[in-house]
Symmetry: D2
Subunit: 107 residues, 4 copies
């Protein structure tokens, strides 16, 4: 269990953007572009690694920091997008898992 929750972090991101007058840049179109750029920065860490090397990435402290940092960036833009579009990300995921249970029946 974590002491942070999604709604609280979304609120901090709202205040972070508002204080810097960045809300004008945070159109849905721009936020999805930024999200995809951050996702690619995660890919960049792994792009030349073998599957086995990729599984050991967290054993190097510098790589581990970088991965955590990029995971945070992806989550940050995903939550900003959800705030701007009034989407509940956890409800959306729960609904998708249910659709996937039907789409890919377990053996």
């Amino acid at each position: 269990m974590t002491k942070h929750d999604v709604a609280g972090l979304q609120q901090r991101l709202v205040e972070f953007a508002a204080r810097r007058d960045w809300e004008q840049y945070h159109t849905p179109k721009n936020l999805v572009a930024a999200l995809s750029v951050e996702a690619s920065e995660l890919v960049e860490i792994f792009q030349w690694l073998t599957p086995e090397e990729s599984a050991r990435i967290m054993s190097d402290p510098k790589d581990a920091f970088r991965v955590r940092d990029e995971v945070a960036d992806v989550l940050s833009y995903l939550l900003r997008l959800c705030t701007v579009l009034d989407i509940d990300p956890l409800d959306a995921l729960a609904a998708k898992i249910e659709r996937n249970e039907t789409r890919f029946p377990a053996p």
Copy 2:
């Protein structure tokens, strides 16, 4: 407030993958690739829209469904990655917000 929590959804995704014997595919390298592909599916929805059209995306029920569906896919692979690499996504984001407060001081 939502009735779902991140740890619970991560657990459901663990079970979903395990029952289908998909864990073999879920190397960190493959998961970040899948994450970036899903992020691009979000971009695809917005790619030809003006900023103003992008802000109205949720007013069309079909588009709204598609956006929610792709948000769920991005979150799904992000949480799978966090499980596989033993990263707490909310802690990672809280730490990043703190670093950003220093990096981009509010006026």
Copy 3:
């Protein structure tokens, strides 16, 4: 050697867009988004494959068609971008190879 050349294909893409009145959508910002979406559609083909399976992709005619089709889409948006921004793609690449010869000296 091929009978097609880059300048001729760029001209065909100009005419293709003009006849459909699509030039209004082809801002540099939209074209780079579309380019990244097509690049991700290539990634999607390979995302769950092992390195070895990825090396054999062209042995299946359906996969081979899909790869060629996505390669064409990536090249198509890259050339449209170059036309719109008045960049010579082959000159840009030759210049980059020269910079890389200095940056990564051969042993």
Copy 4:
């Protein structure tokens, strides 16, 4: 017209990789990942710009250099992929334009 041609640049990229013993990393799976990362580096340049600002990107020499540099990186990995998979990129594009003429008839 340009003094460079695609086949010649592909050959230079083959030699560049071979001299550095980088061919081992250039699996199709890794090359498409690298291609998508470079496409995202192009997106990053444009992500917060308005459509109008994006259309003026080449008027700033530093931005113009960066765009040309990333265009070259995208083309570089696209041509490496084509070499490794024995795809003729210009033939693939010409075939795709013909399919698109049928798929999207001009008015």
